[in-house]
Amino acid sequence: MTTQPVAVSVDGLTKAFGSIRALDGVSLTVGAGEIYGLLGPNGAGKTTLIRSLVGLVTADAGTVTVLGRRLPDRAVLADVGYMPQAPALYADLTVEENVRFFASVHDLDRHAGAQSAVDALEFVDLSSRRHSVVATLSGGMRQRVSLACALVHRPRLLLLDEPTVGVDPQLRAELWQRFTTMSGEGTTIIVSSHVMDEAERCGRLGLVRFGRMLAEGTSAELRRLAGVERLEDAFLVLSESSS
C-alpha cells in the first residue's frame, strides 16, 4: 500500500456552516486504484468531504491534494468524475444527451464523446433507454444516468456520493462488480454510503461522524479493532468510544 502512488490526500480539513462543524480536522490518504468507502450516518460530513475534493467547498482550514495537484486547481478536474448525492441532470434532455453533454464538458470531442456515452450507458445498463427524456425515468434510473455522466470521460478519480440509493439489489451488485473492475484497471474510487453491505466491498473504509474521522482500515481491521463480528456493530462501538 505504501509503495502505491497517492491519488488523494486530505490534511486537517475543517469547514463550518454557521455553527455547524461539517468537517472538523479530517485527514485521509487514498492510494491510486483503491476503493475507499466513507461510512457514516446522515449529517456526518461525507458529502461535504467529497464536495471539497472537487473544489465545491472552500475549506476554513486544511489542504486537499488531488492527483498530485493542490486544490483549487481547475485543470485537474478533467481527470475527476463526481456524482452528486442527488442526481443532478437536465430533466428535459434525453439520457444520451445528458451523458454526451458531460462528456464534452470534460473535454471529449464529438466522436470520442459519442463512443464513451455508449460505453457508459452500457455500464449502467441503460442502453435501451438512451432516447428517453430524463424526466420520464424512475428515481433509480436517474441515479444510474447520473453515474454514467460521472464516469463517461473515464476519470482517474471517481467520487461517488451514495451512488446506489434507489438502485435494486441485483443491479447494485453488478455495479459494484464493475467498480471493482475499474479499480483493478487503476481508477481510484471514493464512495460514500451508509449501507453496511456495500462497505464490505471497499478496500479500505473511513468511519466519519460529527465531521471527524473516527477510524480507518479494512472491514476486517475495523471489526477486530472493535472486537465485534459485524461491521455495523463495529461502527456503533467505535463511535461510542470516541465520544
Binding site: 465545491l56 478533467a78 437536465y90 458531460f102 473535454d107
Partner: protein
C-alpha cells in the same frame, strides 16, 4: 368542501410566506414603488418640456404672449433667436420651438386668425400636447390683457405645425413600434434566461459544471452563445413582422434595428444570469419582473419622455440600459439616423458597455455562488 383541509392549505401558505420574507416584502413594497413612480411620471413634480419661443412680432401681442408663455405651467420657455432655436431642436435640448410671426399683432387686431409656427421634434407625441395647450391658454390670456388698451379681441388660433422628424403621417404605432421591439425582446429574453439559469442552479447541474474543468467564463459565454442563436432568429422575426406586416414607419437601416435588438438581447441574457444569483426559487425569479422590469419600462422613455421626468428620476433613467436601447431604436426608425450620427453612436456604445459590464457581473456572480 372540507373547512379543516382547506384551512390546512391556507395555513401552509401563510407559513411559506413567513419563511419567504422577500416575497412578502415584494407584495407590500412593490406597489408603493410602482404607484410612486406613476405619480412622478404623470405630473407630480415632473419637469416641464423645454420650449424655445422666438418673437418676431412687430406689434405688442407677441411680447405679451411670449411673457405669458414664460409663466406657463405646461412648458418651460426660453426666449431666443430663430437660429438658436433651430439648433436647440436638432440637438434635442428642446421639445419644440414656437415662432410668433411679424404680422401676429396685425392679424389679431384685424380679427384674422393668427398662425404661429410650432416646430416640433416629432418623435415624442407626448411632448406635442403640452405645447399646443400652453399656446392656446397664453393666446387667450394675452389678448384679454390687451383688450382694453389695444382693442384686441381673442383671435382664432391656427398654429401651423412643422416636424423635424416624423410628421402628421405617423400614428401611435409608428411612435411606439421601435421602442416596443426593444422592450419585447428584452423582456422575453430576460425572463427565459433567468428561469433557465435558476433551473441550472436548483437542479444541481450548475454545481456539477463547477466540479468540471469548465471555467466560469465558459459557462457565461456558453449561455450567451445558446441564447443569441435563438435571439437572432427572434430579432429577425420581430423586425420583419413589425416592418412588413404591421408596416411600422421606418426611416433608417434595417440592419441597425437588428443590431440594436441583438445588443438588447445580450444585455438581457447577462442581466438574467446576474439576477438569478439573487433568487433561490423560480418563484423569486419571477418577482424580478415587477421589480427589475416594470420600473425600467416606465422609466425608459417608451411612454413617458425622459425629458419630462423629475430631475432625480432622469438620473435613474440614465442608469437603465433599456433607456438607451429605446432611444437608439427611435433614432434609427423615426429619425433615420445611421452610424454617422453622434447620439445613435452614444446609445449603441452605452448598450455595449452595459452588456460588457453585465457579462463581468454575471461571471463574478458565478464565483460567489460556489461556496
Amino acid at each position: 368542501m372540507n373547512g379543516r383541509r382547506a384551512g390546512a392549505i391556507s395555513l401552509r401558505i401563510l407559513q411559506q410566506f413567513r419563511h419567504d420574507r422577500r416575497t412578502l416584502m415584494l407584495l407590500f413594497v412593490a406597489p408603493i414603488i410602482l404607484l410612486g413612480l406613476f405619480y412622478f411620471l404623470t405630473g407630480g413634480g415632473s419637469s416641464l418640456p423645454a420650449v424655445d419661443v422666438v418673437n418676431l412680432d412687430r406689434g405688442p401681442l407677441g411680447a405679451v404672449l411670449a411673457a405669458d408663455l414664460g409663466q406657463s405651467t405646461e412648458i418651460s420657455v426660453t426666449r431666443t433667436t430663430p437660429s438658436r432655436a433651430a439648433g436647440d431642436l436638432s440637438a434635442d435640448t428642446v421639445a419644440a420651438y414656437v415662432v410668433l410671426p411679424p404680422d401676429l399683432s396685425a392679424r389679431a387686431l384685424s380679427g384674422d386668425v393668427i398662425a404661429p409656427t410650432i416646430h416640433l421634434e416629432g418623435t415624442q407625441p407626448a411632448l406635442t400636447q403640452p405645447v399646443l395647450l400652453a399656446l392656446d391658454q397664453s393666446v387667450t390670456r394675452a389678448s384679454r390683457s390687451l383688450a382694453a388698451t389695444e382693442g384686441v379681441r381673442v383671435p382664432v388660433l391656427e398654429p401651423s405645425l412643422d416636424y423635424l422628424h416624423g410628421g402628421p403621417g405617423l400614428d401611435t404605432l409608428d411612435y411606439f413600434g421601435g421602442a416596443f421591439i426593444g422592450l419585447i425582446v428584452f423582456l422575453l429574453v430576460f425572463v427565459v434566461t433567468i428561469i433557465a439559469f435558476l433551473r441550472e442552479r436548483s437542479q444541481g447541474t450548475l454545481e456539477r459544471l463547477m466540479a468540471s474543468p469548465l471555467r466560469r467564463a465558459d459557462i457565461v459565454v456558453g449561455y450567451i452563445g445558446g441564447f443569441m442563436v435563438v435571439a437572432a432568429v427572434q430579432a429577425a422575426e420581430v423586425v420583419v413582422f413589425t416592418l412588413y406586416a404591421l408596416h411600422v414607419h421606418n426611416q433608417g437601416d434595417v440592419a441597425l434595428i437588428v443590431l440594436l435588438t441583438l445588443l438588447m438581447t445580450l444585455v438581457a441574457v447577462n442581466l438574467g444570469i446576474f439576477l438569478s444569483m439573487f433568487a433561490t426559487t423560480e418563484f423569486q425569479a419571477v418577482q424580478f419582473i415587477p421589480l427589475a422590469i416594470v420600473p425600467q419600462v416606465l422609466l425608459s422613455g417608451i411612454v413617458f419622455p425622459v425629458a419630462t421626468e423629475p430631475g432625480w428620476l432622469q438620473v435613474v433613467s440614465r442608469l437603465l440600459p433599456l433607456t438607451y436601447g429605446v432611444d437608439g431604436l427611435r433614432d434609427v426608425m423615426l429619425k433615420g439616423n445611421g452610424l454617422t450620427s453622434g447620439p445613435l453612436l452614444v446609445d449603441i456604445a452605452v448598450v455595449v458597455a452595459f452588456a460588457v459590464a453585465l457579462i463581468g457581473a454575471a461571471t463574478a456572480t458565478l464565483r460567489r455562488s460556489a461556496s
